[in-house]
Symmetry: C2
Subunit: 351 residues, 2 copies
C-alpha cells in the first residue's frame, strides 16, 4: 500500500461546488427540467470530473489489457488458455468484437500484453508491457507477488498518463484473459464483501457442475490467501490478475489526470472496485458502462449503489460495453454544449 | 378500417426460416455464443426485417411529427400550447435536443407539421403536411374525424415511402405536441387495455393535483367517445392525435417496405400500439428504443411483452431515444457483418 502512495495522493476529490452552475445550465436548455434523465447526469459528471462548466470533447481511447491466469488450470473456464493469445492476434488484425465496436464509435484501441503466457511473437501493433507470463495459480498461493502487482498497476498508470498527453478526453477499459471471471469474482467477494456464490457466474459459458467447481476453487483461493487479504492492494495481488491490476492502474492514473474513465464489464468492475477501495475519490471519475449478463455484476452494482448506463445482456469484455457507453456519454456532453436555451430560442417556460 | 386495407395488406410477415442461418453465423463469430446479448438479437431482427442473411447499412432518418391537441385546453400539461410552434421553430434552427442527437448519431431529421394550430409562417425546411390546425378537444367529442385520421396516416405512409426511395435503411419516429401524453395514455388504456391511472404520468412535469385532473380528463374522453372505441382505427381517430396518427402511418408504411423502424418514447409507442393492433405482422418490424420515465411506458412494455433497448430515464420525445438506439442497432449489424469467425481467425472453440 505504502508504495502506491504517490499514485493515490495525486487523485483530487472533484469540486462539487460547480454542480449548481452545471445544473442551472442544463435546466435552462429547451426541454422540460430533467427530461433527458441520464444524459443530463452524464454531462454533469463529465463537467465535475474535468472541473469545468464548459466541457470539451476530444479523442476517445480504449485500453484492452490481456493476461493469463494460473487458476485456469483448475478447469474454471469453458475455453482453453490458448484462446488468450489467439484473441490478442485477432484484436491486432481487427477481427474481434472490440475492433468492430471501437471503429463504430470512433474510438482508438490499444491492446496491451501485460501478462499473456505466450510470447506473442510477431504480433505487430501490440503494446508490450508483459510483467509476467500469466499469474500463478491462486488456488494454491498468491496469483502475484506484491512487486508484480505494483509493476502491473504502473503499466496502467503509464498508459493513463500517455492518454492524457495524447489529448484523450474519454478513456475506456477492456480485458482479455481466459479464466479472468474467476479472480474477478474472488476480488468482488473479498472487497464488496459478499459470499463467493453471489458473485460467481458462468463466464464464457460453463455448465452447472463446472460453476459449482468454480465456486469451490474461488473459496479455496480466498482461504489459501486469507493472510494476504487484509488490505485492497495485497488482495489484488493475491487473488487478482495482471490485466485486472493493469486496469486498476489505468483507472488510478486517469483519475490523477482528471480524465474520465469508462469502466467496461465485470472484470473491469472488479478492477474498479480495487481502485475505489484504494482511493475513495476515484469513484467520482468513473462511468460504469453496462450491466453484464455475468451473474455477479448485478450484485456488484446493487451493493455499491451504482447504476450502469446500459443493460444489453452482454458478457464479452474486451471493452465492448465501454465503447457503446462512450457514445451515450458524448451525447450527454453535446446536449449540454449544443442545445439552445429557452431565451435564445424564444420558447416559453412552464406555466 | 376498410379504407386502410391497401396499406395493411402491403405488410408481409417476416420469414422466420432465415433465423437458423442468421444465428449460425452469429455463433461462428469469435466470441462465446450469445455473449453479445442484445446486439446479437438486434442484428438478427434487422436481418429478418430486411429478409436477408447479408444485411446492408445505409442512411438513417428520423421523422418528427408536430401537432396540437384540443384537450390541452383542459389544463393537462405543464406548458402552454404556444410551445408546440416555438419548438418547431427551434428544431428547424437546430437548437432542440433532437437536432443535437441526430447530428451526434449521424441521422437525417425531418420535421413535419401535420397538425400544429399555428400557421408556422416563414418556417423554412419544415415539411408542410398540415391535416388540421390541432385536434378537437377529445374530452367533449372525437379528436379527429375518421377522414382526418386517414389523411394523417397517409402523411406517415407517404413519408415512409419517400424514405425507402431515398435509400434510408433505418427509420426513426419522433413527436412534438404540447398535451400529447394525454391522448397517448388514452390510446394505451383503450388498446392494451388497462386502467387509465396505470398508464398516465406527469408528462412534461405536472404536480399531483394536475395528474389527478389529467386522469379524470382521460377517463371522461374515453367515456364520451365510448361508441367509437370498437376498433383500433376509430379509437385512434377519437382519442389520438394528428402526430400520433402520422407516426402510426409512418410505421405501417415502413413495414410495407420492409424498412426497420425505431420507435421513440411513450407517444411513439402509443402510435406503434395502434399500428400493431391494426396489423399483427407490424410488430416484427419495430425496434423499441428506450423506456421512458413517463409512468405508463413501463406498463406498456410489460403488458406487450416487449423489451426496450435503452433505459435512460428520458421523457422528452422528439425522436431523442430513437436516435440513441439507432447507434446500438447499427453496432449489432456491424458485429454481424465485420467480425472474424473462429476459422478465419484461427481461434479455438469451447472445450
Amino acid at each position: 500500500m505504502e508504495r502506491l502512495k504517490p499514485i493515490l495522493d495525486a487523485i483530487p476529490p472533484v469540486d462539487r461546488r460547480l454542480e449548481t452552475e452545471i445544473r442551472a445550465h442544463l435546466d435552462n436548455l429547451t426541454k422540460p427540467v430533467g427530461s433527458l434523465g441520464t444524459l443530463e447526469d452524464l454531462a454533469a459528471s463529465y463537467c465535475l470530473i474535468t472541473g469545468t462548466v464548459t466541457p470539451k470533447l476530444g479523442k476517445k481511447r480504449i485500453v484492452t489489457f490481456a493476461g493469463d491466469h494460473g487458476v485456469a488450470a483448475e478447469g474454471v473456464s469453458a475455453y482453453p488458455s490458448e484462446v488468450t493469445p489467439q484473441m490478442v492476434y485477432n484484436m491486432i488484425s481487427g477481427g474481434a468484437a472490440i475492433n468492430v465496436l471501437a471503429k463504430h464509435i470512433g474510438v482508438d484501441l490499444q491492446v496491451v500484453d501485460i501478462g499473456v503466457a505466450d510470447p506473442l511473437e510477431g504480433a505487430s501493433g501490440l503494446i508490450r508491457r508483459k510483467v509476467k507470463s500469466g499469474t500463478d495459480n491462486m488456488s494454491s498461493g498468491p496469483a502475484m507477488s506484491e512487486e508484480e502487482a505494483i509493476q502491473a498497476i504502473r503499466v496502467g498508470v503509464d498508459l493513463a498518463n500517455a492518454a492524457a498527453e495524447d489529448g484523450i478526453t474519454l478513456l475506456g477499459t477492456g480485458d482479455m484473459g481466459i479464466g479472468n471471471t474467476t479472480p474477478s469474482s474472488a476480488l468482488c467477494a473479498s472487497l464488496i464483501p459478499c459470499s463467493v456464490a453471489e458473485v460467481t457466474g458462468r463466464g464464457t459459458g460453463i455448465d452447472d457442475d463446472r460453476l459449482e467447481h468454480k465456486i469451490t476453487v474461488i473459496e479455496r483461493s480466498l482461504e489459501v490467501n486469507s493472510h494476504l487479504l487484509s488490505d485492497p492492494f495485497s488482495t489484488l495481488a493475491a487473488v487478482g490478475g495482471l490485466e485486472i491490476a493493469g486496469i486498476c492502474g489505468l483507472i488510478l492514473g486517469a483519475a490523477g489526470r482528471r480524465l474520465p474513465v469508462v469502466v467496461d464489464g465485470f472484470i473491469s468492475s472488479a478492477a474498479a472496485l480495487a481502485a475505489m477501495r484504494l482511493s475513495e475519490p476515484v469513484r467520482d471519475y468513473l462511468f460504469f458502462s453496462h450491466c453484464s449478463a455475468e451473474a455477479g455484476h448485478r450484485i456488484f452494482y446493487e451493493r455499491l449503489g451504482l447504476r450502469p448506463i446500459l443493460d444489453l445482456d452482454m458478457r464479452l469484455g474486451e471493452g465492448t460495453g465501454a465503447a457503446l457507453a462512450m457514445n451515450v456519454i458524448e451525447a450527454g456532453v453535446k446536449i449540454y454544449n449544443e442545445m439552445a436555451t429557452f431565451d435564445s430560442a424564444g420558447v416559453s417556460g412552464k406555466e
